[in-house]
């Protein structure tokens, strides 16, 4: 049993806290974290719920490998109905908080209702208390963590919280733990703030005991760590360059969405790449990148710790940003940079600091900036409305909008709507580069065809972390497929989606899958937990989780019409690069995908499929 077999239920309306045994029957069918948390969610919450109403619930869930010596075993997932999307949301995060919750003796915390006033939850092993949060409401994530550690005289406490953007209703607000690790997407932070819940501070001293077969577990985790260390991506590329190792690669492939997806290659890509982060700046002779950093239990250590140029216009009068903090990952560097045509690395780093400090998703934010800049260039939005001239490429506009979004002030309120609602409001819904209301990440689906199907069918709206076919189409993991072809992508996407559900539900990081397949994960689960975690059953569990999420979305009103891409990607061919002349071939892949899934051509799981998966 590497579950703790205990969950916490917090009724915020009544201010009561209760302990419950973990439903082990569900654990054996849904594993943990994303899968098991979502099972609780769909059993307890009606699909029609308004995401920002007290009837929505918010679940923080760890997995069986969270808090153990399995490499990257530090993750937790936040599950709710997404504020941005209205679809099932499950955003996961690393850092140290998830492992701390598990070490305190809890698999999961379920929040219900809405507190009449701002509160935060303190968990100290079995002692769980709701406190008044008046003194931290209206402050940042960074301030909240510092304040709570001081107040409770506990420097070892781990804190996850929401910032001002969430409080102000920004629809893509994140939950941020350990200063710069985020459950970033779909507006899970917005839901948290809507419940008047500011933070969860945890101290866990019990740890994770009772591994089923400790000797086999230590042998399995050690063997799996060696696989990570020996792999070129997880052993060398990611620790040295972080995910930013991709910037120049994806640009050369003609799959770097640029200026709101008008272009697929960015002339400034090199200036915002991993290589640029490591070079000494001309201004102060120091590099942007200070060091790499691991999350709990991670033997890859891809995290970036950056320090800004103190003389940069954004921070020259703001010494609070002069220290080292979470730096640019690839997705953020793309969204804050190429998506808007901005090539000022320091401006991007500053905007990224703000996204961490006040808890908003840099992907959705950056993509919304892209849409705003296009509207500005079309003359639909003016300098007076935005508060600044905002043509593509303007670093000043980017950082100005980041500051407003962080605080939810001025045009920042409009920014907080996300690109779908904002472009609709100004009469140009076609300019929102999103699916199910959530903005694309950093791969253009004209240059990497499988990603089009990935985005269109992702249960949480456009996202790269539901089936990262980039691994196959670009890096050749586990086998190389042609990024420009649509053939075979339906099966590839399904396989990646189901396997990803297992990685997410085990409590480990998806980045291990550059080196690990389920063959490496299964022995670690098998040695630690009771139940059947053979490869055959893991394939079924992964598929079950995917279908469960899909059925929730269908019940919430999503149909096959929502499995679509913005017009731009299916009608405007890529202008340059290897994909020149191509649009995304979603129409060819989607029917094949539905068939592979055992769904009707309306995207609904057939009774046979549901029966086979026990749904």
């Amino acid at each position: 049993m590497s579950w703790q077999r205990k969950i916490l239920r917090v009724d915020l309306t009544a201010g009561t806290i209760a302990e419950e045994p973990l439903n082990m029957e569900w654990a054996l069918d849904y594993l943990g974290s994303r899968g098991l948390g979502t099972k609780y969610f769909v059993e307890e919450v009606g699909a029609g719920v308004d995401p920002l109403s007290p009837a929505n619930k918010l679940i923080f869930a760890t997995g069986p490998l969270t808090g153990t010596m399995a490499s990257t075993g530090g993750r937790y997932t936040v599950i709710t109905k997404g504020a941005l999307t209205g679809a099932i949301a499950c955003s996961n995060s690393g850092g140290y908080w998830g492992a701390e919750l598990k070490a305190a003796g809890w698999d999961m915390v379920i929040f219900e209702g809405k507190s009449p006033k701002p509160v935060y939850l303190q968990i100290s092993d079995d002692e769980v208390t709701l406190h008044d949060a008046a003194e931290i409401w209206g402050t940042t994530v960074w301030h909240t963590e510092e304040h709570l550690k001081k107040k409770h005289q506990d420097p070892l406490m781990r804190v996850t919280s929401v910032g001002r953007s969430a409080e102000q209703g920004c629809l893509y607000a994140a939950v941020v733990n350990d200063l710069h690790r985020a459950a970033g997407r779909s507006g899970v932070g917005t839901v948290m703030a809507s419940k008047n819940l500011k933070a969860i501070a945890v101290r866990g001293t019990k740890g994770v005991a009772g591994i089923k077969d400790p000797k086999a577990f230590m042998a399995a985790t050690k063997a799996a760590k060696k696989v990570l260390a020996d792999n070129a991506v997880t052993g060398q590329g990611l620790p040295a360059y972080g995910t930013q190792v991709l910037m120049n690669v994806i640009n050369e492939m003609g799959a770097l969405p640029t200026r709101n997806h008008k272009d697929v290659q960015f002339e400034g890509a090199r200036d915002i790449s991993a290589e640029a982060m490591a070079e000494k700046r001309e201004t102060d002779g120091k590099a942007n990148l200070v060091t790499n950093q691991a999350c709990f239990g991670c033997t890859i250590a891809c995290g970036r710790i950056s320090q800004m140029d103190k003389g940069h216009y954004t921070v020259q009068n703001q010494p609070q940003y002069w220290g080292a903090s979470g730096g640019l990952e690839y997705e953020a560097a793309w969204a804050l940079g190429a998506a808007n045509g901005v090539d000022d690395l320091e401006a991007l780093t500053y905007a990224n600091f703000l996204a961490n400090e006040d808890g908003f998703d840099p992907i959705s934010f950056g993509a919304t900036v892209g849409a705003v800049m296009e509207l500005y260039e079309m003359g639909v939005l003016t300098k007076e409305q935005i508060g600044i001239e905002a043509p593509f490429g303007s670093a000043k506009a980017l950082t100005f909008l980041a500051e407003l979004t962080a605080k939810g002030e001025g045009f920042g309120k409009e920014m907080g709507l996300g690109s779908k609602r904002l472009t609709e409001k100004y009469g140009h819904p076609e300019l929102s580069m999103s699916v199910k209301g959530q903005e694309f990440p950093a791969y253009d689906s004209r240059g990497i065809q499988g990603m089009g199907l990935t985005y269109a069918t992702s249960n949480r709206g456009a996202c790269h972390l539901r089936s990262y076919t980039v691994a196959s189409e670009v890096l050749g993991i586990p086998i190389k497929t042609d990024p420009l072809a649509t053939e075979g992508k339906a099966g590839l996407v399904k396989a990646f989606q189901d396997a990803t559900a297992i990685f997410d539900s085990a409590g480990i990081c998806l980045f291990t899958s550059f080196a690990w397949s389920l063959v490496d994960v299964a022995p670690q689960l098998q040695a630690s937990c009771e139940g059947d975690w053979s490869l055959d059953n893991l394939a079924v569990v992964g598929e079950r989780i995917w279908n469960m999420e899909r059925m929730f979305n269908n019940a919430a009103g999503f149909t096959s019409k929502d499995d679509c891409l913005p017009k731009r990607l299916v009608t405007e061919p890529a202008k340059t690069g290897p994909a020149k002349g191509l649009v995304n071939g979603l129409d060819k892949m989607l029917p094949e995908y539905y068939a592979a899934r055992g769904w009707t051509q309306d995207g609904i799981p057939t009774p046979e499929t549901k029966g086979r998966l026990g749904l």
């Binding site: 010596m69 740890g207 230590m218 991670c298």
Partner: protein
Amino acid sequence: MMNSLHIDASKCTGCLQCEMACSFENYGVFATAKSRIKVFDFHATGRKVPYTCTQCDEAWCMHACPVGAISEDKKTGAKIVNETTCVGCKVCTIACPFGTINYMAETGKVQKCDLCAGAPACADACPTGAITFVDSNWTGLDRMRTWAAKLDTTAPEA
């Protein structure tokens, strides 16, 4: 040959595998709170530093203990707490200049690094070589080699 734990903080990523290995070795549980080695995160500079007992020859803790509960393992040089003898008075925690011996409320005893009887689990678990277990007389060898490599030993042109 006697070995010592040697720490190269520049290689530490903050993954805490060492802390989990320590607690697992000593208590059979993955609990960083029970670890005898601690990784410190100096966030504003990006530095992560593992820290634990360095097994002083003339150990303050050992000399301060009023009941003789701390003794030296002659084979490894480790100063070891005898839990049966320890009365939990915590005088050793005051005497230690480095803070590396600590009281555990759970057991009512103090705990410190005992070098795992000569095979430290933390060093084994460290994925980056930030914690190694090397010849006590040559803990500086790697650092000397790094600097030696920088010396220009080509003969000046005549």
